[in-house]
């Protein structure tokens, strides 16, 4: 069944981790959770594909993990606080993962952050609702949830 559309699906470059994704990504996230133990990190590194079999991932999820396609993992139900444990297991800093997910070099990403981060201007909405929401004002009904395809993967 197709994923139910939500107002937050209109936010560009964002996969909101909701109950539906948490069910879909249960295996990815429990796999990542297992990496909190050193012996598991070693077992995973010794034979990644074999280790993953314990977690009942779909073939797409397995591929995303093996390829370290972090955006795809999020799209398939992974959550960033969990997938970050995979990054740590690989010895990467969080900024490295952020750079990978945004399709930039770590150096460029760090420079963007030092320069004040990614601007919200032009990054609010896929469907053109690109005006600031006033903190505190009641929500205007978000007219139509976007219906086109979801954000492109890098």
């Amino acid at each position: 069944m197709a994923r139910e559309q939500h107002d937050y699906d209109d936010i560009p470059g964002t996969f909101v981790f909701d109950a539906e994704r948490s069910r879909q990504g249960f295996g990815i996230n429990m796999f990542c959770m297992s990496l909190m133990k050193d012996e598991n990190r070693k077992a995973f590194k010794a034979n990644e594909a074999e280790y993953l079999k314990k977690f009942k991932l779909t073939p797409e999820q397995t591929e995303a993990v093996l390829k370290r396609d972090y955006n795809r993992m999020l799209e398939l139900g992974g959550n960033i606080y969990f997938t970050a444990k995979l990054g740590a297991t690989d010895g990467h800093s969080f900024q490295h993962l952020a750079a990978v997910m945004t399709g930039s070099s770590q150096d460029d990403y760090a420079k963007m952050m030092l320069g004040g981060g990614r601007s919200v201007e032009g990054n609010r909405s896929k469907s053109g609702k690109d005006r600031p929401a006033k903190a505190g004002k009641a929500a205007k009904p978000k007219a139509k949830a976007r219906s086109k395809s979801r954000s492109k993967r890098g």
Partner: protein, 305 residues
């Protein structure tokens, strides 16, 4: 009678913890962040609370995706630091206050806030980083801390309104505790940041500053802000800021802003920090507060029905 004397909020960026643990606090990048908390540490040392109640979120440390409680109150005697993948942070074990925690659980659940009671829990950077920022790096933490874990990882987190009202209920619970304790509420998380997906790195200082202004002077404005506004404006993970409203709900309507600090960035995040103190003479206002609570409850009932 116990009472809440002040509220403090702070971001809880893990990289801040790493900078402390790896002795990098004097590097210019990090000094900019840590210098903003010098006054706060002095303030905390002067105020010397008997207990802190710390509203924070777990980051896949104590709670996986097996069970995701919306509000979980730490009622244990102690909370060891969690191994987040690099070994536990070298910080002291957090000592709780089981008696006050049990009292709060009982009071707020009967007040219709369905907390999860947690008697065994490890705590991650979400709690220990703000503690470092406010207490420094002592051998033992200077006071017991009751952790209140709020789910902001799995959408939807509780609404800002619900968080604020929980703060109110906690205040009522604290004020019905017989021992004379001076309690500081801590809110953690935020400010604007997105750490996931192609939009990672989003920062919105304008939003953050307005949020701080309203938190201080007009928190009711924030209570009705829908989640989509947090996520759109302040990043998918910026929604953590709802936790600050639990802190704010536990304070008086009118408070003194003691201190504020804001800087961008710490790693991927805008760092915000504010200290709000209840004005003295709170005893006098009690009937009014009670009346307001009743009115607020009636309002909630109206909304529910």
């Amino acid at each position: 009678m116990a009472r809440i004397i002040a509220g403090v909020t702070s971001s809880h960026v893990p990289a801040i913890g790493a900078a402390i643990d790896n002795h990098r606090t004097e590097e210019p990048y990090w000094k900019r962040v840590f210098s903003g908390f010098e006054k706060s540490k002095e303030w905390m040392a002067k105020v010397k609370p008997d207990v802190c109640i710390a509203v924070y979120n777990d980051h896949a440390s104590a709670f996986s995706v097996e069970i995701v409680p919306t509000f979980a109150l730490g009622c244990a005697a102690e909370f060891p630091p969690a191994d987040e993948g690099w070994g536990p942070r070298p910080v002291p074990v957090v000592k709780g206050h089981p008696q006050l925690a049990a009292h709060i659980a009982q009071s707020v659940i009967l007040d219709e806030f369905d907390l999860t009671v947690v008697n065994k829990m490890e705590v991650d950077h979400g709690l220990t980083v703000p503690m470092n920022l406010l207490f420094g790096s002592p051998k033992e933490w200077p006071c017991p801390v009751i952790p209140l874990a709020v789910n902001v990882v799995l959408y939807p987190p509780p609404t800002g309104h619900r968080c604020f009202m929980l703060g109110r209920a906690i205040r009522k619970a604290v004020e019905s505790y017989p021992e004379d304790l001076r309690v500081v509420m801590m809110g953690t998380g935020g400010m604007s940041h997105q750490i996931s997906g192609p939009r990672a790195g989003l920062i919105n200082s304008k939003f953050d500053k307005a949020f701080l202004d309203n938190l201080s002077k007009d928190p009711k404005k924030l209570m009705r802000m829908p989640h989509i506004d947090y996520m759109r404006e302040a990043g998918a993970e910026g929604i953590e800021m709802v936790m600050w409203l639990v802190m704010r709900g536990a304070l008086d309507d009118k408070v003194d802003e003691v201190y504020r600090f804001y800087t961008v960035p710490a790693s991927n995040t805008a760092v915000g920090h504010i200290i709000l103190a209840n004005r003295a003479k709170s005893a006098k206002r009690k009937p009014v507060a009670k009346h307001k609570r009743a009115a607020a409850r009636a309002k909630v009932d109206r909304i529910r029905s």
